[in-house]
């Protein structure tokens, strides 16, 4: 059974997505339970995989779980490789997707009562795609799954408010261009190596480092993935798409999509093109970190000018993408550690704030700054979650956001890249301003009759318990992950980098 985990991870959600679409015709009430079961199996399998990979001896088989899809041997068949890096991402994806599924049940049932089957089918397919991207060891298979994720994502986003279809269309154009770039890059690689298997490509490439084709393949792949993750200035599609999407979709896509793309970038940098090529043969290292600096600074500044809460959070994502790209491209251990750690941490904290905003939208029917007035009295538990997420994004210890920022800044200092260090500090300060702006609006109430000695005029209107509990679990998780940073780094991240990099 446990040897089938990598397969189950993708097959079970895929089948449950099909089942849901059927159930949508027969009995709508079945959709949600099937979705929960599908994602629970995926979560079970990914935790099982993580434990297996952790137990595996790195010296013996590289600490990698290899799964041959359909029994075909690589490099001809599609192989799934699971090492500690993607096992971590798998757990993050499946935990976030499941928690979000449960947290948004009420909202989805009220907003899409007639389209529940379609909604959950797309939802589960999207998660299937994300899990598949993470688990696969085949570069072309990755493209296919990328398209599955993207197409379902377009559909889900377009289900949002009136401006959503346009935002989704914009995303379709940009996302398609990004995917095409990636496909083109993989095509070049296939031409020169004759292989699509990542490990196989990596073993062939070292003799070809001087080749212009390899260089072109690398750059084109990178640009495609940067477009997909919304790396400034290729981010233009992201804010509108994530803002106008339904709450339940925003809180799925915003934490996971960009983070999985960061994972793909790191996978390409470390496994397919080996660190030696990425950092030594190419003279791009410093320039890319400067691009990241611009992304961080611009993301923060644009967030300052954002007209509403969701838009603000989406620009923060743009800045966070800069964190991770910059950290990965610093080319040292601390930076890479920070970047990988931030994949998990940023997914959790973005999920946390988006879930909280989802709850606010559910009750207040809006996400403008004015809708937050007096929110601490109206929705105290939701706001506890929101504040925890906010503190993590600002980087207040002991939340996990502090520790990944710690590694990222250390990496910057070690590499002597003080622009990156300054950008991170600047962005933390701006985040503090941004979130305290919101906290202030929520704290000072509606502005009427709030004199010294009276009790607050507003009464409590908390979201249903099924929406609050998952949020608080995530918020608690932010602190728990922060306190276990040491273990995560030594047992999961260190070995990943030790196999391939550097110093």
């Amino acid at each position: 059974m446990s040897s089938q985990y990598p397969g189950l991870l993708v097959i079970v959600p895929l089948l449950s997505a099909l089942l849901i679409s059927v159930a949508g015709w027969v009995n709508k009430r079945l959709c949600f339970p099937i979705a929960v079961v599908g994602l629970s199996v995926a979560l079970y399998a990914s935790i099982g995989l993580l434990l297996r990979v952790l137990a595996a001896d790195p010296a013996l088989d590289g600490g990698v779980v290899l799964y041959r899809l359909g029994g075909w041997d690589p490099p001809w068949g599609i192989a799934y490789y699971v090492d500690r890096l993607n096992a971590l991402v798998l757990v993050v994806v499946s935990v976030s997707a499941l928690l979000n599924l449960i947290a948004t049940k009420n909202d989805v049932q009220e907003s899409f009562s007639t389209k529940i089957g379609a909604f959950y089918t797309l939802y589960i397919l999207l998660v299937t795609g994300l899990l598949g991207i993470t688990v696969t060891g085949d570069a072309f298979n990755l493209y296919v799954l990328l398209e599955i994720t993207a197409l379902t994502g377009y559909g889900l986003i377009a289900m949002g408010e009136s401006r959503a279809p346009l935002a989704s269309l914009n995303y379709v154009y940009m996302g398609t261009i990004g995917a095409c770039f990636y496909l083109l890059g993989i095509g070049y690689l296939y031409i020169i190596t004759g292989s699509l298997n990542m490990v196989d490509i990596a073993s062939i490439l070292p003799g070809l480092y001087d080749s212009k084709v390899v260089l072109a393949a690398f750059v084109i792949c990178m640009v495609g993935i940067w477009l997909k993750m919304g790396f400034f200035p290729l981010h233009a599609w992201l804010p509108n798409a994530y803002t106008y999407a339904p709450s339940a979709v925003s809180s799925l896509i915003a934490p996971l999509m960009t983070k999985v793309m960061i994972y793909v970038m790191i996978r390409l940098m470390l496994t397919v093109f080996t660190p030696e090529f990425t950092f030594s043969v190419l003279a791009l290292k410093t320039s890319v970190v400067w691009l990241a600096v611009i992304a961080i600074v611009m993301g923060s500044i644009l967030a300052l000018g954002a007209p509403d809460v969701k838009k603000m959070l989406t620009y923060i994502i743009v800045a966070e993408v800069g964190y991770m790209v910059g950290g990965a491209w610093l080319g040292n251990r601390a930076g890479m550690t920070g970047s990988i750690l931030h994949i998990a941490n940023d997914a959790l904290m973005t999920l946390c704030v988006f879930l909280a905003v989802g709850n606010v939208v559910y009750r207040m029917k809006g996400y403008g700054f004015d809708d937050l007035r007096g929110i601490f009295v109206k929705m105290p538990f939701t706001m506890i979650g929101f504040v925890a997420g906010a503190f993590s994004i600002i980087g207040v210890p002991p939340t996990c956001g502090f520790f990944s920022k710690w590694y990222l800044i250390s990496g910057g200092i070690e590499a002597g890249h003080y622009g990156f260090v300054a950008a991170l500090v600047f962005s933390s300060l701006i985040s503090a301003v941004l979130f305290f702006k919101l906290i202030e609006v929520g704290y000072y109430g509606s502005g009427d009759a709030h004199h010294h000695h009276g009790t607050a005029p507003v009464s409590m209107a908390e979201a249903p318990i099924s929406m609050v509990v998952p949020l608080l679990i995530v918020a608690g998780g932010l602190i728990a992950v922060g306190l276990y940073t040491g273990d995560i780094v030594t047992h999961i991240i260190d070995p990943v980098i030790a196999q391939t990099i550097m110093d």
């Binding site: 002991p398 260090v421 305290f436 202030e440 010294h452 607050a456």
Partner: protein, 489 residues
């Protein structure tokens, strides 16, 4: 010696937070606060004998970053600070009840809740074993005090709250965080040690820059020009100003600077690079300017705020002298100033509760109406000025000896001039309260004090201020042990 007590001392006040939130009856809520405050005090006290014997209690909570775990270590310096903060929390709780109920303030549950969190993080700072842990609790304290400062939730509170955050969070993220990372990068550790860990790791210029980043970065210490938040924060209810802005928050800032000077840089490195003098100069500028500004204040709480700014720098000055007696005096001043200043704030609050007056110009002749309060005020003022029979005399005496020991005559002059200025802004208040005829009918003929919950605490702290001159234990021994530890003599 490994002991879980430091962790318990930090967490014990957090344990009452859920009870505070769920409780609808004020009496139960406040009883819990008392239980938590007393429990915290007892846990802290139970560690005193071991510390006096020269043992260090250590406890590691989580290994987060190699060389920088979240860990506690109880040493004489931290113990002295924890003892002051935890004992005064009990007194302040009693005072809070009198003050908050006397004025019928809203949001009292929230108030007591965040007060408990603030005290937890104060103790956390006191017992931190390394810079990371210290930073952690420092930040939590900044955030937990925001709802306390802005308690009134009006326009003035909003402005002050912003100022508070900009100064406190801005400096800690902008200066301390990078400085801490540079330290980590240089030495691979952040653990405080008696000799410091930076010696021999970087060029002198870098050390000087780091020193500036730390001294100004811990803006809670209100060193000029990063002092602006403290007078602004006086919009908070008076018990907050009393405990947090005379004792816990500001002392956390000073304590952090002292910790960094002694435990990160080390006395030897500071004297070798002559950085102690720089610290002294920064501190003495703050002392003199703040005292001069205090002279011109009419709002009593603002005057106390500027007085606090000056007095905080006494502590920094004492440590900057780098001489054993100077450090003893500086550290001892943490305790002496705390008891004196909290008395003064309690008095200001009691006057406000009883008469609604905030300004000094309206307090002429108030001694007739509130003789007990104004007598306590007098004692507190004596202690801050550094005159017997109040405890402040002792710490100032050691500071003066420290300047002589370090051969810094200029600093001696600063201390003496500052004492004159202290007297100049405090004594007229006392004089006019007792010896000038009252200008309003309110103060004539009738003794009417604030509620007992307000008066008893301030009498208590005033008495302790006097007792501390004659029996300054265990603070004196702890201060001396702390000085011995870091100077090696």
């Amino acid at each position: 010696m490994i002991s879980i007590k430091p962790l318990l001392a930090v967490l014990v006040s957090l344990l009452v937070v859920p009870i505070l939130v769920s409780s609808r009856t004020p009496n139960v809520r406040e009883a819990w606060t008392f239980v938590a405050a007393s429990a915290k005090f007892l846990i802290v006290v139970s560690m005193v004998p071991a510390v006096l014997r020269g043992e260090q209690l250590v406890y590691t909570v989580a290994q987060v970053i190699p060389g920088a775990p979240i860990a506690f270590r109880v040493d004489p310096l931290g113990m002295l600070f924890a003892l002051v903060a935890s004992s005064l929390w009990i007194v302040t709780t009693a005072y809070s009840i009198g003050y908050m109920r006397g004025l019928g303030e809203h949001g009292q549950t929230r108030y007591f809740c965040f007060f408990a969190i603030a005290l937890s993080s104060t103790i956390g700072v006191a017992f931190s074993a390394n810079l990371l842990t210290l930073y952690l609790f420092y930040e939590i304290l900044s955030l937990a005090t925001y709802p306390l400062v802005t308690h009134h939730q009006d326009a003035e509170a909003r402005v002050s709250g912003r100022k508070y955050l900009v100064y406190i969070l801005g400096t800690s993220i902008g200066l301390v965080l990078p400085a801490m990372l540079i330290c980590y990068h240089l030495s691979g550790t952040l653990a405080f040690s008696d000799q410091g860990f930076l010696a021999g790791t970087g060029p002198p210029q870098l050390m000087t820059i780091l020193l500036f980043m730390f001294v100004f970065g811990f803006a809670k210490a209100a060193i000029l020009p990063f002092h602006g938040w403290l007078p602004a924060a006086m919009v908070a209810p008076t018990p907050v100003s009393a405990l947090l802005h005379a004792v816990a928050v500001v002392k956390v800032g000073v304590f952090s600077i002292v910790r960094v000077l002694t435990g990160v840089f080390g006395i030897e490195l500071l004297s070798w690079l002559n950085l102690g003098t720089i610290v002294c100069v920064i501190a003495s500028c703050t002392i003199l300017i703040a005292s001069l500004i205090a002279l011109s204040q009419d709002n009593l709480k603002r005057l106390l705020a500027f007085s606090t700014i000056g007095q905080l720098s006494y502590i920094i000055l004492g440590v900057g002298l780098l001489s054993p007696k100077g450090i003893t005096g500086g550290v001892l001043h943490i305790a002496m100033h705390a008891f004196g200043k909290i008395t003064l704030f309690f008095c200001a609050g009691a006057i406000f509760v009883a008469t609604g007056k905030r300004n000094i110009s309206e307090m002429v002749g108030i001694g007739r109406r509130m003789p007990v309060t104004m007598t306590a005020f007098f004692i507190g003022a004596l202690s801050i000025t550094g005159l017997p029979p109040a405890g402040g005399f002792l710490s100032k005496w050691y500071l003066v000896l420290g300047t002589l020991q370090a051969d810094q005559i200029a600093m001696l002059v600063v201390l003496l001039v500052s004492s004159l200025l202290n007297a100049a802004y405090f004594m007229p208040i006392v004089y006019r309260a007792f010896f000038c005829p009252a200008e309003t009918a309110m103060f004539e003929n009738r003794v009417q004090e604030a509620p007992a919950f307000c008066v008893v605490p301030l009498v208590l702290t005033a008495l302790i201020s006097i007792i501390l001159l004659f029996y300054p234990e265990p603070f004196f021994s702890l201060a001396r042990l702390a000085a011995q530890g870091v100077t090696g003599g």
